[in-house]
Amino acid sequence: MAIEPNNETLIARYLLGELPEEQQVEIEDRAFQDKDYLASITAVENDLIDEYVRNELSETDRRKFEDRFLASAERRKRVEFAKALTRIVPEYAFKQKTALAPPAVSWRESLEAFFRSLNPVAKFAMAAVILLVLVGGAWLVTETLRLRSQFTTLQAENQSRQNERQALEQQVELQRRRNEELAARLNEEKQQREQSDESLRQLSETRDATSPPARPVVASLTLLPGISRGAGDKPTLALTSDARLVRLQIGVEPEEQYKSFAVDLRTVAGQRIWNRENLTARNRGGARAIGLTLPATVLKPGEYELSLRGVTEGGRSEDVGFYYFNVNKK
């Protein structure tokens, strides 16, 4: 059903809320029975929105529009869209005008007119020239494509070489860092050993200065894996009053292959009293064990838990086992 211009005005008045109730009902009833009419209302609605965003509405209509159209979020979205469309349309109109600017006669028509104006000899010469240009052009295109392909291959090779060089540099850097790390660890172990030797030497001197030892100043205990906290046969370390150092031999299963080990010594109440990292397991008499030396003053009579952790090549720490022992003082 075609919509008359006066109908458009009526619909616009309806949309602005200017019609009496009976007419509004008429329009609504018709809209929901006639899809074309419904579409017409939407089209008029769009035009009203466009006029609003272009400031083309009278002050009164503008107020009515705002009262009715800006009430719901859905319609506000339509207003936002109309604002964007109003800004975009002139941009495209300008592009279209620019595109239409060339003269009315097309290049093809001009070319045809030019050929028509030539005499037969000139036409033949022109055809020969065009043929030459076409053949030359084709050769040039082929040659350019070939060179471009070569250039692309060379670029790819160059890139591949660069990538290889970068990978090698990264490997060298990694190796250098690893060497530095190993040197630092070696140094640390050396210092620890020197400290232990010094402690032993001092103890030895003390012993020599007083009297020959009737009892050892280094108390030793071997801890084996697999002893639970609740086991009754937990090993006991007997500390004499003159014991200065405690040497713990922590047994490690052969399959526990780690870069290094770390130890945490805790009281039965969970209080950490000693810890040491970067320890290595050594084979002694057919068994693997980690030696740990600590001052005897650290240990008070009571029950202890020693947790052993292994550090993988990647630097990840994993639990290896827990060892329990008692300490008695004599």
Binding site: S40, N46, E74, E80, K83
Partner: protein, 191 residues
């Protein structure tokens, strides 16, 4: 937004009954339901309500209640419009009761603030226009080009060029505009 007077709420059984009453079977009932709901939303929008979709749902709820109570409705679309008009009266009365006209105006003024996503909307619209075919892009841009009389002249030229009547042109422009707006809203939502 108006709150329902009754404690009655739509349940699955009542909704199934409504769909059957609307279309005889569930599929055609669903289609009719969507059509009625769209029309109701448009109606509340045209009448300047703030929450058209909520009011459309409330109207359908009231209709579903009647169907569940066994009331025989011959023309569901017309019945729904009747309920919607009664609901509209309730909304207007409620609005008048709750606030004076002046406050209403002030609140409206405050409620609408220009969204600050104008630039992203423009970018989205440019992209969405590019996704249209060249023919459709030209159509929508020329249809909405110009002001007042210039716009009318443009549309006449477009009708002549495409050889289609005004209503066909209007429908095409309308569909394209709806498609573009949907594309822009989706794009803005993603941004």
């Amino acid at each position: 937004m108006i709150t329902p007077r009754q404690k009655w709420t739509l349940n699955q059984e009542a909704f199934d009954k409504l769909l059957l009453a609307l279309g005889g079977d569930r599929d055609s009932g669903s289609q009719k339901y969507l059509e009625i709901r769209t029309n109701l939303t448009r109606f509340f929008e045209w009448r300047g309500c703030s929450f058209p979709e909520d009011h459309a749902d409330e109207t359908i709820n009231r209709m579903a209640k009647k169907v569940a109570e066994g009331e025989e409705i011959l023309n569901h679309s017309g019945y729904a419009m009747g309920v919607a008009r009664l609901l509209l009266l309730e909304i207007i009365k409620s609005r008048q009761r709750e606030q004076s006209a002046l406050n209403e105006m002030e609140n409206r003024g405050e409620a609408y603030v220009d969204s600050d996503d104008g630039e992203s909307r423009l970018t989205c619209l440019r992209n969405c226009l590019q996704s249209l075919s060249a023919e459709n892009r030209d159509l929508i841009l020329q249809y909405y080009q110009g002001e007042k009389s210039e716009k009318i002249r443009n549309r006449k030229k477009l009708m002549e060029r495409l050889g289609i009547p005004v209503n066909t042109l209007r429908m095409r422009a309308l569909r394209l505009r709806e498609r573009l707006q949907g594309c822009v809203e989706e794009c803005v939502g993603r941004a």
